[in-house]
Structure formats: structure tokens, C-alpha cells
């Protein structure tokens, strides 16, 4: 029974991610276009909203090119492991007060830990491509994602400390509006580190369109490539959802169905900011990235922890 439920939740998560990615891509194309003085997709459907519906079959039927020199089994299945953990991590997100698909006492830890498996998959796909640029991208991604785990986790730790529980639903229940100014630094750090985690600009160093062409997935095409893209958008959706749930009070100030709507609105707002930042700022260099992580974000996250720790006894 548990297995069946798990399977159904998995399918649901996949669907959410797939649909979310489709809408996300459309939304990103519109946002990017307006920032760049363009209209973006406008021919298919109202405001071009069905553009991605047209693109998905294209991706499905595209020729699946596998380089001769690639390590074929790994090359073929690595994309699954990039996409899978993101989908799985969705299950612990508290969509509304009192309801999360998987209500577990270590949900926060689950959410931080499971997507990190992606690092391995990325490194595998990069290595399997047998391509210098891909390998470089994979190595960059590994360094970046592992490093940014630290400030991200520390930032989440602040809110966990306040709530006194690792269960996301408990956090949502315990959340009060004045937590927002109190944990604002943590939220910023979480947000920035999440952008770095999902390899989006200005931290898209592993992909680095202008340097490594597409980094670790340079040699992928068709649906395999699409799974990298879905992973990127899935990461964006899940990180935004999780951030909105933990740091912005989920459905606050509403409850019930309205609360879910509020959560989705907050998520879309966060995603839009992610896109806005990506299309505005230049890309950092690897050494800047690292020093930013260890010299700025991590100390700041520690400072936030200290603040929370000092405030905590008076609550």
C-alpha cells in the first residue's frame, strides 16, 4: 500500500514538475522577452502560452544523439538521476497548513539532502559525455553545488531553530509574521544559495553558455536534454515553493484553499525574481563564486544563526 502511494505521489510530483516546467519555461520566455524589449512567444495560443505544448513533442521526437566516445550506459541514464531527486524532494513540501504529501519528522533534512544527489548525476553525465567542456562544467557544478549546500543549510537551520522542529508542517504552523524580518538574512542566503544550487544566472557557471557552451549537458539532445531542463525548472519550482513555505509563511495570511493560492503566488513571485536576476546580472567567475560562498554567505548565515540563538530565549 505504501509502495502504491509512494508511486502515485511520485507520478504526481513528476506531473507537477513537468507541467510546472512547461509553464515555467513559457513564463521565463515572457519575462526574459519583456526585459529584453521583446514580446516573446506570441503565435501559439493566447500570449503564446501553448508554445511549450508545441515544443514538448518536438523534444520527444528529436533524434537522440549519443556521441561515439561517450560512456553509453551512464550517458543514457544520468539525466534520470538529475531529474529524479528534484521530483522526489517535492513530496515534503507543505502546500498548506496541515497538509504535505509526505508528513515526515525529518522533512526539512529530506528536502536539503535528496536534491544533492543531483550533483552525482551531473558529474556522471559530464564525465560520460567524454568532452573537455562538459567535464569542466561537471567539475564546476560539483564544486559549486556542494559549497552552496553549506550556507543554504545554515540558513534553513535558522528557521528550524525558531520552529524547534524539522517537520515542515510544524514550521508552517509555528510561523509568525515577525519571523520575516528576523530571518530575512537567512531568507536572502537561502534564496541566493538556491539559485546557485539550481545553476541559474548569475551562478550559471557550470553551464556558462558563452564559455562551456552548455557545460555538462552540452552533448545531450532531445528528451535527455529536456530532462536537464526540467530538472532546472523543477529545482526552481521546488526551491521557491520550499522557500515560500518555510520563510514566507506558506499560505499566510490565508488558510485552506486560499492559502494554497497564496503559496503559489508567492512561489511565482520568487520564480520571477529568479528570472529577473538571471536576465539582469552578469555571470560570476568560479573564484568569485567560491569566495562569495565562503567569505560572505557562510559567515552571514552564521551571524543569522547567532541572532536567532540570542533571540530564542525571549520567545
Amino acid at each position: 500500500m505504501t509502495l502504491l502511494w509512494g508511486f502515485l505521489w511520485g507520478v504526481a510530483g513528476m506531473t507537477v514538475i513537468a507541467v510546472g516546467a512547461i509553464l515555467g519555461v513559457w513564463w521565463e520566455r515572457k519575462v526574459a522577452a519583456r526585459i529584453q524589449m521583446r514580446y516573446g512567444p506570441q503565435q501559439i495560443g493566447p500570449f503564446g502560452s501553448l508554445q511549450m505544448i508545441a515544443d514538448v513533442p518536438k523534444l520527444l521526437f528529436k533524434e537522440d544523439i549519443i556521441p561515439d566516445s561517450a560512456d553509453k550506459p551512464i550517458f543514457k541514464y544520468a539525466p534520470l538521476f538529475v531529474f529524479g531527486p528534484i521530483a522526489v524532494s517535492m513530496v515534503v513540501i507543505p502546500f498548506s497548513a496541515g497538509w504535505a504529501p509526505l508528513n515526515t519528522s525529518v522533512g526539512v533534512l529530506f528536502f536539503l539532502a535528496v536534491p544533492s544527489i543531483e550533483v552525482i548525476a551531473i558529474l556522471l553525465s559530464a564525465w560520460a559525455s567524454h568532452n573537455t567542456l562538459s567535464t569542466l562544467g561537471g567539475i564546476r557544478a560539483t564544486a559549486q553545488m556542494i559549497s552552496y549546500e553549506v550556507p543554504r543549510s545554515l540558513a534553513v537551520l535558522a528557521i528550524v531553530l525558531l520552529a524547534g522542529s524539522l517537520r515542515p508542517l510544524d514550521v508552517v504552523d509555528a510561523w509568525r509574521w515577525w519571523w520575516l524580518p528576523l530571518t530575512f538574512i537567512a531568507f536572502l542566503i537561502y534564496f541566493i544559495a538556491s539559485i546557485a544550487e539550481m545553476n541559474r544566472g548569475p551562478f550559471d557557471i557550470p553551464e556558462a553558455e558563452s564559455e562551456l557552451v552548455a557545460g555538462y549537458f552540452a552533448d545531450y539532445s532531445g528528451m535527455r536534454w529536456a530532462s536537464f531542463m526540467m530538472a532546472e525548472y523543477g529545482g526552481m519550482i521546488s526551491a521557491s515553493l520550499f522557500g515560500a513555505a518555510l520563510f514566507l509563511g506558506a499560505g499566510w495570511p490565508f488558510t485552506g484553499a486560499l492559502g494554497v493560492v497564496a503559496l503559489i503566488v508567492k512561489t511565482i513571485a520568487l520564480m520571477t525574481i529568479v528570472m529577473w536576476v538571471k536576465w539582469t546580472l552578469p555571470r560570476l567567475r568560479q573564484d568569485h563564486l567560491m569566495s562569495f560562498c565562503w567569505k560572505v554567505l557562510t559567515p552571514l548565515a552564521l551571524v543569522q544563526l547567532v541572532i536567532v540563538g540570542v533571540v530564542l530565549p525571549w520567545l
Partner: protein, 681 residues
């Protein structure tokens, strides 16, 4: 950023360096926020891009899109420019404004349709060609020998190799016309009850008379001399214009209905007032009768002559009294050259031509000077007459002063003389420095006004004199000029007279003759040009032969030569491709292949292939197309379903420009080449 000067307003809106420490960190954060603010603001503005292709509705009128041909030889007729005299100016102006006026027609003072002539001759419709030319150029046979052919200097062919022989073709058309003259020269019907008197039978008088006759007026012409022709008869040397040609062509006009009375000098035989009473309008086209002679010391000595008298004697008597003598001709114009050449022909031992102008500035036509020098005339340039040296009232020599410059900075005639004097020995001095009108007997008893230069005072554009019903044209109005220029005034005065006779305003809705401007051509380098493209060489008699007598110098084209020459005409601005192949020669990428057949009557373009796979859209071909047949369309969608479709053949080149095989669909309207509507900057 270092700058060289301090007065630069620095365009840098951000400082070069950030402050260190926390301040710098905050500056950095602020820069990020600034950037996000800029992109946020821009995202709320209206996008600059457009919805393609729905909004892409215009391209630049100069857009270099796919090429097409407007018309093609064999399918389309060359338009002939023929219209009634009073409408002709507006026709020419409309064509000029539409850039459809051939340069030869535009450059001719009388706007003779040389393009139509070339077309008709090439099609072996020679009598029609003669009549087409005669509509504007009253004496094609005569002008075909003596005209200074401004048409040929404007010929577009100059740009490629050598001009089309338009003038010899006039002459050729006349000679062919003579074979059918009898049945084609029928008197024109007189439909109006008013009659017109024309005084003088020179080219301008004949032109006006012909135009009036075409409108149905009766024309009575009076000529002072025994034979008609005016200056053509008295002034033009016979070696250029055999007199029988002149008289025969004027006879043709008489056959059309001109009542010609020779030997009647108005003012002496009958007063002008009598003509005014008898006719509804009178035209004075009396020309210039007197030579000017400079009042320098010795100008009244025996042996000093005026050019007109000298030429009249040479042409009509064949003897000028210079046999075995040395002749000194003063003047550098065409008349002076004529005098010099006539002097040679009447037996002068040495003929010297002295002019104020330097060799480069000589006002005579260069080909005239060249021919004269070939025949042995000596040219002494940049000298001004100082004194006629005399002994016992006879001329013994000529003293001249060196001339430094003729024109001042503004281009006015203002000769500057140096101090150097030189003497030339000679027996006869002929002044050829201009002519004047002799009007005193003619206008005696009338209120006609005469200007300070001795010419009739007329309204410059309508040629009306100070007396109502009396008109004037020709050299008596304009001063010395060319024959074709006089003919042009004849057309203008005829328009005025017709309006006058019909009681219409002379000025309303009247188009002044347009003065088109064409760029000058440099002499084309013909070293690499194929023989078949070059101009037919006019056969000339040998210089040593022709200098002796008054036989014609130019011998005329044969029928075959004329046909080939007429086919050389590029039919400029007709918007009909004649297969001249200059586009193929200009193309840097060998994208164009052109072939045509040259059969009179069946002349057509057999092949016009444009290979779009090679075309670089540089536009050089359309730019130089003489006929404007090859043009760019506004198409910018040039994708094809198959590479073979990219070779356009003749039929494809002639497409309407709406819908092509490029789009695969016919009937869709590509963007027009209209005035571009641009978005706000």
C-alpha cells in the same frame, strides 16, 4: 578614465573605482539594485520588436530584394514620344520627373525622339522614323549633316563604349525616305480660316510654319533671297551641306503646304504693316544678317571681310577672292572654323585661325577643330587682335597681342591681355567674332523695339514682340546659336501663336521646356571592348582630297551599317530590357546570363537567367541598367523548396512582383516598396 583634455564632459555615469571596505560593498549592492531597476523599468515599456510578419508591412524604397524585369524586348513596344507641339513640353517634363526620359531626348534643345528613331530604324520602319524625327526636327536630312548633336554627347552608351550615331541616322532616314517621298508627302489639310505669315525661311521659320500647318492654318512664307533656307543656305559651307539636299528637303515641306515666296524682302518689297493686315499673325524669323567687325586700326582696309559675307560668297559663288593668298581668321567659334575651311577650299595658301581662347577653351566643337587641323588650318590660340597692318589701304599683316585669360573668376567674358605682340603676314583678314541683325528696313514704321545688341525685344519664354500679333523666333531673338536651338524656338513660338490664334491665354497651363541635367561622361576605355559593340565609323573623304573642293566630307552610312547602328541604341529609360548584357558584365559573381537575337522585326530577348544562388544582392546590375528594366523588388523572403528553383529564367524575371516561387504561393502581396513608416526612435 584618463582624458587628454579637461574640457570633456565625461559620459561615464559610473565611477571608475569603488571605495574600499563596507562602503564599497554597499556600492556594489547598490549597483546590483540599479541594474535590476533598469531591467524592471525596460520590461514595463513597449517592446521595440514587432510581431512578425503581421506588422512587417514595409521595407525601404531602396530595398535590394529579388530582381525582376519590367519589360522585355519582343514582348513590349518601345514607347514613341510623339505629341502635338503645344503638349510636347509637358510630355517631356512628365517623363523627366518619372525618370523615364532618355538622356538623348532630354539633352536635345528640340527634344527629338532619338530613341524612337533608333527603334524604328532597327525595325526597318525607316519612313516612319523620318516622320517621327521631322515632327520635332524640321529638316532631318539637313540637321543630320550639320547638327552639333548634343544627343550624342548625352548618349548613355558613352558610359560603356561609344555613343550611338544618332545624327548619321537622321541623314540615313532622310535618304531612305526620299524613295517613298512622293507618296508620303501630301499637302496637309487647311482646316482653320486664319492665315499666318512667316518672314524668313530659316530652320526656325520652317519649324513654326510646319507646326502651324499641322494645326490646319494656312502659312505664307516670305524669303529675301532667291533660294530658301536662311542661314542654312548662306552660312553653312557646302562641303557639309550640299545645297541640293537643303532645297529638296524644303521642297518636301512646300509639298506639305507652305506657300513660299522667295525674293520678297519685307520692308522693301512690301511693308510689314501690309502683312499684319492680311494675316492673323506674323512671325519674324529673319535671323542675323551682318557680321561684326572690331573697330581696331585698319579695320576698313581692303582685304578685311566679315564672316557671313565671306561664307555667302564661298557657298553661293564658289569663289572668295583668296586664291593664292594668306588668310587670317579672327575668332574661335564654329563659324570661324567654317570660314577657315572655306578659305582653304577656295584656294588660300595658308589659313591661320586666331582665337582669344586657349586651345582647351575653344568654343568651336572639338571634332570641327580636329577636322580643320587635319585639312591644314593653323591654329594660333590665346591671342587678341591688336591692329590690321596695312599698306596703301591693302592688308599686309595682322598684329596680335597675347591674351592671358578670357574669363574672370565668375565666368564672365573679361579678357586680360599681356604685353607680348606678334605680327603675322597675311593678305586677307576675316572677322568671325559674331553676327548682328539688320532690322532697320524691316521694322521701319512699326512699333517693334530693338535691343541694344540689335536684336528684337521679345518675351523670353513666349516669343511675343511688343506689337500684338507679331511674333519672333530664331537667331534674331536668341543671338547666334545652333540650328537645333533655333528649331526649338520655332516650336515654342508656334505654341504661342496657336494659343494666340485660338484666343487662349499664352501663359495658362503652359509648361516651360524642362532643362534636364545629366551627369557628364568620361571617355570610356574601349581597349577591351569587342569590335561588334563599337560605333559604326562614318566614312569620311581623305583630308588631302576634301580640302580642295566643296564635296561632302562625311559620306553617310549604308543600309546595313545603319541597321546595326540603330540596334546599338540601348532604348534608355524605356523600362524594357533590350538584352544589352551590361548587367551580366557588371555582375561580380557571374549570376546573370543574357542572350538575344538581332533580326529586324523579330528582335527579342531569348534568354535572361538569374542565378540567385550566386547573387549577392549588391545591386550593381540594377544600378547601371540603362533602360531601368531591371529593378529590385521589395521581397525579402527568398527561401525556396528546391535549389533548382533559385535559377530565375526570363518568364520568372518578368513576374509581376506579387507572389513568387520564392514563397511557393502566388497571389500573396509582398510588402510594397513604399515610403517606410518607421517606429519612433
Amino acid at each position: 578614465m584618463a582624458v587628454e583634455r579637461d574640457d570633456i564632459i565625461t559620459p561615464a555615469s559610473v565611477s571608475n573605482e569603488y571605495s574600499p571596505g563596507v562602503k564599497g560593498f554597499l556600492e556594489g549592492v547598490r549597483s546590483l539594485v540599479t541594474g535590476l531597476g533598469i531591467t524592471a523599468r525596460i520590461s514595463t515599456e513597449k517592446p521595440v520588436t514587432i510581431c512578425y510578419p503581421a506588422e512587417k508591412w514595409s521595407v525601404s524604397p531602396r530595398w535590394r530584394g529579388a530582381l525582376r524585369l519590367r519589360g522585355v524586348l519582343g514582348r513590349d513596344e518601345i514607347p514613341l514620344i510623339r505629341d502635338a507641339s503645344e503638349l510636347y513640353n509637358s510630355v517631356i517634363e512628365d517623363l523627366y520627373k518619372a525618370e523615364r526620359l532618355p538622356p538623348c531626348v532630354g539633352n536635345c534643345p528640340a527634344n527629338v525622339d532619338a530613341r524612337g528613331q533608333g527603334f524604328l530604324i532597327a525595325e526597318d520602319r525607316i519612313p516612319e522614323a523620318y516622320e517621327l524625327v521631322r515632327d520635332r526636327n524640321i529638316l532631318p536630312g539637313v540637321l543630320g549633316r550639320i547638327c552639333h548633336h548634343p544627343c550624342e554627347s548625352a548618349c548613355r552608351r558613352n558610359y560603356y563604349d561609344e555613343p550611338v550615331a544618332i545624327r548619321p541616322l537622321h541623314r540615313f532616314a532622310y535618304e531612305e525616305f526620299q524613295k517613298v517621298a512622293a507618296e508620303r508627302l501630301k499637302p496637309l489639310p487647311v482646316t482653320q480660316d486664319k492665315s499666318v505669315a512667316v518672314v524668313g525661311s530659316g530652320p526656325s521659320g520652317l519649324t513654326a510654319a510646319y507646326d502651324l500647318m499641322k494645326h490646319g492654318y494656312r502659312v505664307v512664307m516670305y524669303e529675301r533671297e532667291e533660294r530658301p533656307g536662311g542661314a542654312l543656305g548662306s552660312g553653312v559651307p557646302a562641303y557639309r551641306l550640299p545645297r541640293d539636299i537643303l532645297y529638296k528637303e524644303i521642297d518636301g515641306l512646300v509639298a506639305l503646304g507652305i506657300e513660299l515666296h522667295c525674293g520678297v524682302e519685307i520692308g522693301k518689297s512690301m511693308p510689314l504693316a501690309a502683312l499684319q493686315r492680311e494675316h492673323a499673325a506674323v512671325l519674324l524669323a529673319v535671323g542675323l544678317q551682318e557680321s561684326r567687325i572690331l573697330p581696331i586700326p585698319g579695320h576698313d582696309a581692303e582685304g578685311v571681310a566679315g564672316a557671313l559675307e565671306f561664307l555667302w560668297a564661298a557657298n553661293n559663288k564658289g569663289e572668295t577672292g583668296v586664291r593664292g593668298k594668306k588668310v587670317f581668321v579672327i575668332g574661335g567659334g564654329n563659324v570661324a572654323v567654317d570660314v577657315a575651311r572655306c578659305a582653304l577650299r577656295t584656294g588660300a595658301t595658308e589659313v591661320r585661325l586666331a582665337s582669344l581662347e586657349s586651345t582647351e577653351e575653344l568654343p568651336a566643337h572639338p571634332w570641327e577643330i580636329e577636322e580643320a587641323l587635319d585639312e591644314g588650318v593653323i591654329a594660333t590660340c590665346s591671342v587678341g587682335p591688336e591692329e590690321v597692318l596695312t599698306q596703301d589701304g591693302h592688308v599686309t599683316g595682322m598684329r596680335v597681342r597675347e591674351c592671358l585669360s578670357v574669363f574672370d573668376e565668375t565666368g564672365r567674358f573679361s579678357p586680360k591681355f599681356g604685353t607680348g605682340l606678334s605680327d603675322f603676314e597675311c593678305d586677307v583678314v576675316v572677322f568671325s567674332i559674331g553676327q548682328a541683325a539688320k532690322l532697320d528696313t524691316l521694322i521701319a514704321g512699326t512699333e517693334l523695339l530693338v535691343s541694344g545688341r540689335g536684336q528684337l525685344v521679345v518675351d523670353g519664354t513666349h516669343f511675343t514682340t511688343s506689337v500684338d500679333g507679331v511674333f519672333a523666333c530664331g537667331e534674331v531673338v536668341t543671338g547666334p546659336g545652333s540650328a537645333i536651338g533655333s528649331i526649338a524656338t520655332g516650336h515654342e513660338v508656334a505654341t504661342s501663336m496657336i494659343r494666340y490664334l485660338q484666343g487662349n491665354s499664352l501663359t495658362d497651363n503652359r509648361t516651360p521646356r524642362p532643362v534636364p541635367v545629366y551627369s557628364k561622361y568620361a571617355v570610356a576605355d574601349v581597349t577591351g571592348v569587342e569590335r561588334s559593340r563599337l560605333r559604326s565609323v562614318m566614312p569620311m573623304s581623305r583630308p588631302e582630297d576634301r580640302a580642295k573642293d566643296f564635296r561632302p566630307v562625311e559620306l553617310g552610312l549604308t543600309h546595313q551599317e545603319a541597321m546595326i547602328e540603330a540596334a546599338r541604341c540601348l532604348r534608355c529609360q524605356s523600362e524594357i530590357c533590350v538584352g544589352c548584357t551590361f548587367c551580366a558584365r557588371t555582375c561580380p559573381d557571374y549570376a546573370i546570363q543574357v542572350e538575344r537575337v538581332d533580326e529586324p522585326g523579330g528582335r527579342c530577348l531569348t534568354r535572361y537567367d538569374l542565378d540567385l544562388t550566386k547573387c549577392a544582392f549588391c545591386g550593381l546590375c540594377a544600378e547601371q541598367c540603362p533602360t531601368n528594366a531591371l529593378t529590385h523588388t521589395g521581397q525579402y523572403e527568398l527561401s525556396f523548396f528546391h535549389r533548382d528553383l533559385m535559377v530565375f529564367d526570363k518568364g520568372e524575371m518578368l513576374r509581376s512582383g506579387e507572389g513568387t516561387r520564392a514563397t511557393g504561393r502566388d497571389g500573396i502581396t509582398p510588402p510594397r516598396c513604399s515610403a517606410p513608416k518607421r517606429r519612433e526612435l
